[in-house]
Amino acid sequence: MKRLALAIAALCASCTSGAKYAHAVVALVDVSGTYADQKAEVVNVIRRGLLPRLGPGDTLVVIRIDAESYTRKNVEASVKLDLRPSKANAQKLAFAGQLDEFSRRSVRAPHTDIRGAMMLGAEYLRETGAGRRTMIVFSDMEEDLPPGVKRDLAKDELAGVRVVAMNVKRLAADNANPAAYRLRLTSWEKQVTSHGAKEFKVVLEPEKLADLLDEG
């Protein structure tokens, strides 16, 4: 009888929540300055490279990076996929529709608040409680805060989050001086890793995004 009780206890102990194995992804899409023109391409990358890779139970949130990104209004679309594959597929289709609408809407922000979007995205990621958390930033990574806006990341703001800088657009000045572009990325790497991020990666080819997601 004791053995049976022990076996049942072991079985119960081995039962865990599926959230630990789920994958939560936050995509930050820059709509300021010259990067606003990239919106359609970014939506395409999310549709083709990101959305099909997510499985039942996973979460995807798309946040707009504009002049002041730390507001709920900046959340363009959000979905937690159902555990039933058929339902999850329907949700994906609906989500793709929301993305199309976002792509069609003409938005151009005068400033770029990347850290504000990061803070908002980190909050969403924490809320999901997912075992794997990824933040994908579609931006030129050139922050330009409006006057009076302060963004200080907490020490563990990005704890356990992988940050991927995707499709980083080179500015006109970067072409003249590539070192500035590299320095910019290095400073972002230092910043995010010092605030708890697991890693910071720069991905140039959209095709590599899928492999990167599988790795996480």
């Binding site: 194995y21 789920a22 549709r47 099909p52 039942p56 555990l83 594959p85 058929s86 597929n89």
Partner: protein, 484 residues
Amino acid sequence: MEHLYLWPANPAASLLALWILSQVFLYAARAPMHKALQAVSRLFAGAFRIAARWCRSMAAGVVRRDREMVIDMGKGDLEAKIGREFHRIEGAFGKELSRYPDLHRKIDDTVIKVDADFQECASSAPAAPGWSEAVNAVAKMPTSGDRVVQKLLEEIHKSAVAGEKKALQDFRDATAKRHRILGAMAPLWKELTKLAGEVSSAVTSALESTKRIDGYMESYEKVRKGDEKAVRSLSWSSTQLFVVSVLILAVAIGGAFVNFNLIALPMSELVPSGSRIGGMPVATVAALVVVLMEVAAGVFAMEMLGITSFFPKLELLPRSRRRMILGVALGGLFMLACIEASLAVLREQIVDSSSALRQSLAGQSMVAETASSRIPVIGQAVLGFILPWILAMVAVPLETMISTGGHIVLSVMAGLLNLGGMLSRLGGHAMRYLFEAARHLYDIYIVVPLQIERLVGTASGRSTGDGRTAGANGAAALRPEVRR
């Protein structure tokens, strides 16, 4: 090393002093050191020897146990075969003997009929046709010229000819009648031949069975006596069975894997739980449980059909209950097969939907369905229906593997123990010679004081006039390790 120098400024002198000190110390400690090395050598060699002996005795025990197991297995197998043959004979005899009175009566009736016909043939034998001679004799009688006599003779001749004709006719009629009787006897003879053939085949079958039983009994006797050849043959047969059952089980595991993959995806539609057990989603665990349930149902079905015997208690159940359990097992299997077939269809739908979604997300138009688009669905459904039945058969190789596995495990254990014993023996020898070599190296290191000792010993021997003794002592001193 430098901290050992007596004079750090002069390392050469320090090293020399250290060397001399070590020589003096090691020379003084030579005898106890040799004893210590000898003792350690004995200790290790003894430990290895004990280990080797233990391995050997364990291996012998394991081999004995294996032999007993093989003999028991062989006896059980042969007993089952003999029992089956007796059962066959019983069945055949029961069937034939129940028919025997009928057969006997048939044979008797046929023989009586044949006898009656034969009697009839014999009783209606016609009279011998002697008329022709009488007619000839009358015809050759000389006529005396007398008209009356001549007429009389002619009448006699006529009546003789008529009598001959009648006798011939009677003879022919009788012969024809006998032929008819004999003709009617032919089917009876055929029936008799057929009945004799039936009896012969029954007897031949019984004789063959008895021959087989004789063969089994001979083998059984050999196995019971523990005949080396018979035991070897049984052991080889067990190994063969084990290998074959392992191969079949490997194939079955492959089938189970295919089966599992077929239902794992659609199961997430039926069991949409976010929880995990041991890191696996509940839907995956459910699919695994379904596959295992099929195997379990197969085990029960095979058990109830009498093909396997995993559970002795089930064998004691009455026939009606056994039939009921068989029905439940087969019904369960059928249900699971139907569920799997439907899940396979659902899987195809999910895959199609995912593919369409991917195309839609990629912005591609839907590819037109090909003419053979129903084939994968049907194929998967059929596969989903058939695989459970095939998995149910796993019980047979599983039982064989378990029953022969003991022999294989014991054989491997015996081999490993023998290998351990051999390595221990080698280790024991290696330790002895290693420590002997260490003793020699020790003596080589202090060869200078030893040589001085030898020279001093020789000189003192000469001075006492007993050089031989001194020399012998010196040699003994040089070789204290010589065994007594």
